[in-house]
């Protein structure tokens, strides 16, 4: 295994996360405009908050990147003075950690859609745990709680799993991922051609 992330890896990961931090703030305004509607319509789009981790990992394909990305995205929001302030930071750590564990379980060797979806689900589980600790949802009536969970899981799978996967596919087509991915030994071997 390589020894830790290099400066380039860290900076690129953080910048990807900050880009999503900007998206999150816009997303936050959509989220809070549908939230008072009740019935957890808002939960359908909650999953967008988990996207930074999977995207960063799928782009860079290196250990530790998903966790770092979620923390960075959350702190980006924090420094921009988001009223959610410290809450996002705590959530970010937990969500990132859960996603990271999924990628680790596959030894950082799988980059397909299933892994992305699993990581999204893991982040979602992390956020639900945080919500219980936060005391926001434990006391909801059962039908309401179920509705809440289903909506959030569906949203997570769609945004942080499927959408993240396709987004990185397109990024690959732009050629930018070559800059930051580990170089294959095939490329080194090609140096010895005639």
């Amino acid at each position: 295994m390589r020894k830790g992330l290099k400066l380039t890896d860290i900076l690129v990961t953080i910048v990807i996360a900050v880009a999503f931090g900007i998206v999150y703030i816009l997303w936050g305004s959509i989220y809070y405009s549908v939230k008072p509607l009740g019935l957890h319509v808002d939960q359908l789009i909650y999953g967008m908050w988990f996207i930074a981790g999977p995207v960063a990992f799928l782009v860079m394909r290196k250990p530790g990147v998903a966790l770092l990305a979620e923390i960075a995205a959350a702190s980006g929001e924090f420094f921009l003075g988001s009223p959610w302030g410290l809450t996002v930071l705590l959530y970010g750590v937990v969500q990132g950690l859960f996603a990271e564990l999924v990628f680790m379980a596959f030894r950082y060797k799988k980059f397909n859609m299933s892994v992305a979806v699993l990581a999204a689900i893991a982040s979602c589980v992390g956020s639900v745990l945080m919500d219980f600790a936060y005391g926001e949802i434990g006391a909801l009536s059962l039908w309401n709680l179920l509705l809440f969970m289903i909506a959030r899981f569906i949203g997570s799978i769609f945004f942080a799993g499927v959408f993240a996967y396709y987004l990185v596919k397109v990024l690959e087509a732009t050629g930018v991922t070559n800059l930051v991915r580990p170089v294959s030994s095939k490329d080194y071997a090609a140096l010895d051609q005639k």
């Binding site: 087509a173 732009t174 930018v176 070559n178 580990p182 170089v183 140096l191």
Partner: protein, 489 residues
């Protein structure tokens, strides 16, 4: 002479590319030399600088090997994009970052920061100035100052003025000549007017990353002028030669039309509620080529943005006889080509990018195929039709962004610095296409710093100063070189 940096039999390949960019390249540099590396874009000159400095493979992982390689023991590197070489928000902090890297004690930092800032002629009231408030030229001075903090023997310059206007370019070269006097300087640059008097030696590359000539500058310049022209290098006098070869471009400048297509009166544009641009009265006709000139920050781009309604405006503004408030789809008549082409790409292939606007209008497939095909031909993109737009070279991206903007034959085309950072070949090709469209009655409005364009292609020149259009100069038919009709506003 003492060798200070060299490489022998260098092989290098970018991940994912088919072929090697360098195959057994050898070159060496002596202490105190000032050398210019010249060649077509994409030939690997910048990559060579990175190898010589050791950035490849230390910081950038690229497969490479060399029989022998020696990097200078102390060196500094100035990059082309002022916005992507700083990591700190304030000028003093950026230089302090370098000093910290060198473990300079805190007590000495303040004095050294002041010294370096003075050396590059960066006049700041307070060294704790936000980098965001500096102009492009000042940012590059700061970049040079932080290189000086390294006290380098060798300075690598990777197109340090590519993103600067002519004034900034000259200033930066004046600074570089001063500080580079007693150092080894290795330069990659396309705009070589100011560089030539500074250097002694030129190394010339071809498309395949091979050195085709290496020697004293006068000999290389005289022997390989045609090669340079072919490569699109901005050697001195390239415009004069172009005009000489295309003498009749100034004929038939006027295009007769039926009345103005755009009118403004007391027209103002606002950013963050502040008035940033004001037009007292202007009328625009079809077939005009208007160049908007002015200093950095005068409001040229803002004027384009106001015309496109990207920003809030008030006052009278009429487009094709309809008040702007009643115009539903402004973009049916008018299009805008952004300075950075990537921002306007929406599709996954060159072909689809051009076809995109036609598909929105649900044009029949037959027609789409024909129109796109024709444009691919005109803009020399046919060979790349299936590539992702982001994978193109800088020049190709620019051509694609123009092609995709004009596919629907808009009446008015607005361009923000369309020739910026382009080589001479691409610049002339673009200008000829714009002229072609203008002749067909399309109005071209462009912001540019290039006086050659205003002199040789424009039919009309607006000058913007401090957020106001202060002059409107119409260049009359055929006598363009001799007579201009000045309407002061």
């Amino acid at each position: 002479m003492e060798r200070i940096a060299f490489v022998e039999k260098l092989r290098l390949k970018f991940p994912g590319d088919e072929s090697l960019i360098f195959k057994d390249l050898s070159v060496s540099f002596d202490k105190g030399e000032k050398v210019l590396l010249l060649g077509p874009s994409g030939c690997g000159k910048s990559t060579l600088l990175q190898v010589l400095s050791g950035l490849i493979p230390h910081s950038i992982e690229v497969p490479m090997k060399a029989k022998e390689l020696e990097s200078p023991s102390s060196w500094g590197y100035v990059f082309q994009d002022p916005d992507s070489q700083f990591c700190m928000p304030f000028a003093d902090e950026e230089i302090a970052f370098v000093l910290e890297n060198l473990s300079v004690p805190k007590q000495q930092m303040n004095e050294r920061i002041h010294n370096h800032i003075r050396q590059v002629g960066l006049h700041l009231d307070d060294i704790h100035t936000s980098i965001d408030t500096l102009s492009g030229g000042m940012k590059q001075r700061l970049a040079i100052a932080s290189v000086l903090a390294l006290e380098p023997e060798v300075i690598f310059l990777d197109e340090p003025t590519a993103m600067l206007d002519p004034v900034g370019t000259k200033e930066i070269w004046d600074v570089l000549k001063e500080i580079g006097k007693d150092k080894t300087v290795i330069i990659v640059e396309h705009k070589i007017d100011h560089v030539l008097e500074f250097i002694e030696r030129i190394v010339l590359f071809n498309d395949n990353g091979q050195i085709i000539a290496d020697g004293p500058k006068d000999i290389i310049l005289s022997l390989y002028k045609n090669k340079m022209k072919e490569h699109g290098i901005w050697f001195p006098g390239v415009w004069d030669e172009y005009i000489h070869d295309h003498a009749p471009i100034r004929e038939q400048r006027e295009f007769n039309d039926g009345g103005p297509i755009m009118q403004m009166q007391g027209f103002r544009g606002f950013r963050k509620k502040e008035e940033k641009i004001m037009v007292e009265e202007l009328q625009i006709h079809s077939g005009e080529w208007i160049v908007i000139r002015g200093e950095n920050g005068a409001g040229k781009s803002t004027l384009l943005h106001a015309l496109m309604q990207f920003i809030k405006t008030n006052g009278y503004y009429e487009l094709m006889g309809t008040s702007i408030k009643k115009v539903k789809n402004l973009t049916d008549n008018m299009t805008f080509v952004f300075q950075n082409p990537e921002f306007q790409f929406v599709a996954n292939s060159v072909y689809e990018e051009i076809a995109y606007s036609l598909r929105i209008d649900k044009k029949p497939p037959q027609e789409i195929e024909e129109r796109v095909h024709a444009l691919l031909e005109v803009f020399h993109l046919t060979a790349h039709r299936d590539k992702h737009p982001f994978q193109l070279s800088m020049g190709q991206k620019r051509r694609l962004s123009v092609a995709a903007s004009i596919v629907k034959e808009k009446k008015i085309i607005l361009l923000d610095e369309p020739t910026f950072g382009q080589d001479s070949k691409n610049t002339f090709a673009l200008l000829e296409w714009f002229e072609e469209y203008r002749k067909r009655g399309i109005t071209v409005i462009m912001v540019t710093h290039d006086d050659h364009i205003s002199k040789n292609f424009a039919t009309r020149i607006w000058t913007v100063k401090d957020g106001k259009v202060i002059s409107d100069e119409k260049i009359s038919k055929q006598l363009a070189f001799l007579e201009t009709e000045v309407l002061s506003l």
